[in-house]
């Protein structure tokens, strides 16, 4: 089986009924999708499969042979965060960060699909994503700002080093 992950082609050795989550984390070492509930209830493992947000824990890799997969590693880099990562950083939309990967790719798919800054529509788009820190207000603010195409000067945002850095080590 073959997958293209963040633009890089991979031949997959795992069994066809292995989850995409397992393949990404354990075989390919791509760890932004988180293994939360592993039964589709939390959204921490969501990635984009051919542009659509999908729970990687519910996806048998054999069912998506040849697909293009995008994870947070494919959105931006620590030095050059993507617009949705910048919006989350600016709005302090991550607390413990466990749900953030899923939130980011779901938000990316929502805005790519024409999503607006309307809070109800954002809530519907993120309905499958649980934040156990309950930081939903900041997350919705961040997605709304991203949907409006806002740009941020993160040098003024990141007043607390290490606290707001979604891209990796500073």
């Amino acid at each position: 089986m073959n997958l293209t992950v963040n633009g890089v082609a991979h031949e997959v050795d795992s069994a066809p009924l292995s989850t995409l989550l397992h393949v990404l984390r354990e075989e390919l070492g791509i760890t932004s999708p988180k293994a939360g509930c592993e039964q589709g209830g939390c959204g921490a493992c969501t990635v984009l499969v051919d542009g659509e947000p999908r729970r990687s824990c519910l996806t048998a890799v054999g069912a998506i042979d040849g697909a293009e997969v995008t994870t947070v590693e494919g959105l931006g880099t620590p030095e050059a965060l993507s617009p949705v990562q910048q919006a989350f950083t600016h709005h302090y939309a991550a607390q413990c960060g466990f749900c953030t990967s899923g939130m980011l790719v779901a938000a990316e798919a929502y805005v790519r699909g024409g999503g607006t800054d309307e809070p109800e529509a954002i809530q519907e788009a993120l309905a499958g994503h649980v934040c156990r820190c309950t930081g939903y207000v900041k997350i919705i603010d961040a997605v709304a700002a991203f949907a409006r195409g806002e740009e941020f000067d993160l040098s003024t945002t990141a007043a607390s080093p290490g606290m707001t850095n979604l891209g990796g080590a500073q």
Partner: protein, 265 residues
């Protein structure tokens, strides 16, 4: 576990039917939203897995009179029937969340096993109310029968599609969930056929979705129909809601659906 599984990838409906055979020892994987966690958690170790994602069982055909929904159609795609069958589209939108709906299939939802910890089958009531015919294969060959009869005896069957006549009006009412990912706690679907007949069905019962014949007989009086519905069903008693709570809610949902149908006149 999974490394001993024989995994089959049919690329057409005929091939899927042939590989399914009489269904013995076959685990069907379509969207995977129910069956994949069963495998992940080691509760299921399939001998043979039939992957339906490339079998061409998806699609909605609407010739203006009858609508056929392929079993492999993602639940999300039922939204395209919002004008023709608003009650069904509303029921579909009530399933889990958008990501799950994009992956889960109509057939998987209809055939989902029902247990006290997972009262699945959100779409059953809506399709039963539509008087849907289920076409399936398995031992003895192809069979077409009312969906409710299929749900009574679906062991060893592979659902191919469900077909129903386009109704004059349709409606849906459900209890709200405490969490987006819960299964339908209790819901009522209603249809007024082109011939003026009122059909009602419920989901969230002790087994699968069922018609509510006593409520239908009293449909001209929503208050009485709501009370009569309790004669038609055995209600689930599980972690999502007690039987008592469902018994208080069912008449309310029946009344709401009948009111919606009246307003759709």
């Amino acid at each position: 576990m999974t490394h001993t599984t024989e995994v089959l990838f049919p690329s057409s409906v005929d091939e899927a039917v042939s590989l399914f055979g009489d269904g013995a020892g076959v685990t069907v994987v379509a969207g995977g939203t129910i069956v994949v966690p069963e495998i992940t958690y080691g509760r299921l170790a399939p001998a043979r897995a039939l992957m339906l994602s490339g079998a061409g069982l998806d699609g909605i055909e609407d010739d203006g009179a009858a609508i056929v929904v392929g079993a492999g159609t993602p639940v999300a795609r039922l939204a395209q029937l919002a004008d023709a069958v608003p009650g069904l589209a509303a029921c579909a939108l009530n399933v889990a969340d958008g990501e799950i709906r994009g992956q889960a299939t109509v057939g998987g939802n209809l055939c989902a096993g029902h247990g006290a910890d997972a009262p699945r089958g959100d779409l059953q009531g809506a399709f039963v109310a539509l008087g849907a015919t289920a076409r399936s294969v398995g031992a003895g060959g192809e069979r077409s029968e009312p969906l409710e009869a299929f749900l009574d005896d679906r062991e060893g069957r592979l659902l191919l599609d469900v077909r129903f006549e386009r109704p004059a009006a349709s409606a849906f009412a459900s209890l709200d969930y405490p969490h987006t990912h819960e299964y339908t706690v209790l819901a009522v679907s209603g249809v007024r056929t082109q011939g003026g007949e009122i059909r009602l069905a419920a989901t969230g019962l002790a087994d699968h979705g069922r018609r509510l014949p006593s409520a239908e007989a009293a449909a001209s009086d929503p208050e009485r129909a709501g009370a009569a519905a309790l004669d038609d069903v055995s209600l689930a008693d599980d972690a999502l809601a007690s039987e008592w709570y469902r018994s208080r809610a069912l008449p309310v949902l029946v009344r709401r659906v009948l009111t919606q149908l009246q307003e759709a006149s």
